[in-house]
Amino acid sequence: MFDMHGIYDNPWLTAYALGIAALTAIACIAIDYIRRALFTISIDRNPGKWFNNLWKLSTKKHNHNNQ
């Protein structure tokens, strides 16, 4: 993913490393904003709905077995 061949002895290597890492982080954040937008229009419309249904189902079964 990263390669510092040819730049290792450069006095600006630290600045280069900090810059490349910052660009990588910014790119990942930008990708995640797309993911968040997708989630907002899909599974986040009713946050926790699937989990609550699953929880209700499992606790109902558990209570039924205990009776």
Partner: protein, 334 residues
Amino acid sequence: MPQHANPTNERTATHMRKTRNSSIELLRIIAAYLIVLRHFVGANAFDVWTQPLSFNKIILEGLLYPSGKVGVVLFFLISAWFLCESTTDLKAALRRAWILEREILFYSLALTVIVLATDRSLLTPKILVSAILPTSTDLWWYTTSYIVFLILCPFLTIGLKSLGQRTHRNCCLASIILWSIGGGLTSFVSFDMTKENVLIFIYLYALVSYWRWYQPELIDRRTATIFVILGYTISTASVLTLTPITLTLDRGTHQQTMLGQNEWMLPVMLIGFGMFSLAKQHHFTSKIVNSIAKSTLAIYLITVYPPSPHSYGNECSTCTASTTIHGSRHTHSA
């Protein structure tokens, strides 16, 4: 009149609880950035460990490389600080795990599809299974260990609370002596602490919960600053000392950075706790910072995805060979 009886103060307190402290959120962003910086050194096609001592080598090995592990400690400390605020039940813990699992599943599937479309040679049967079951197959160690921790957290919190201050303090001291002093100064003494494991989080949780419950002002600004400076000084000094030795012996070159190899190593713990303490003592609010901080996990998931060429998950063969000492293997992982 007690403060909480004032409706205005009550509203302000509720607002403060609801609004995240951007100082902590900024620290979350810094933590993710530090992980990428470690990646720049550890997952680089250029092997810095075989190079002779130089200014650049000291910066890369002594400062940037251990900072990735500091990032992991910070990520966890931030979560743990709020998790131990109150006791929760298993349902709340599983709900948290489920919310996290959705994001993990999204990235495991999306990244696998991208790899499938670009370079199929990188795909293995294990990666394909992991795309569907990322957490249970340990595709990313941090998220797997964190989800296991979340499930155990309600029970751990009750257990630690029931210890009481004195016993909890003794437990923390014993753990620090075992793992961050005994096992935190060399790579070949570990006292059974295992890398990339939930035990690391249990250890950190025991410390952070004591800190929060009994002595929240334990680390003041001056001490925190000393912790950070001391941590980086020890790390840099170890690189300065170990580089000539390992290069002369022509073996174990990766031991040059052994003090930055794992989360529980003394310098990493000092820097992590110091930085967290500094951040929590500072308060400001920024919607932009808080919004960006919500995307920090993605930085970890994308850059550490195992099939990526030279990613952390893809340790190079020379690293494995050169770091096997006394049966304890050390690889570049975040």
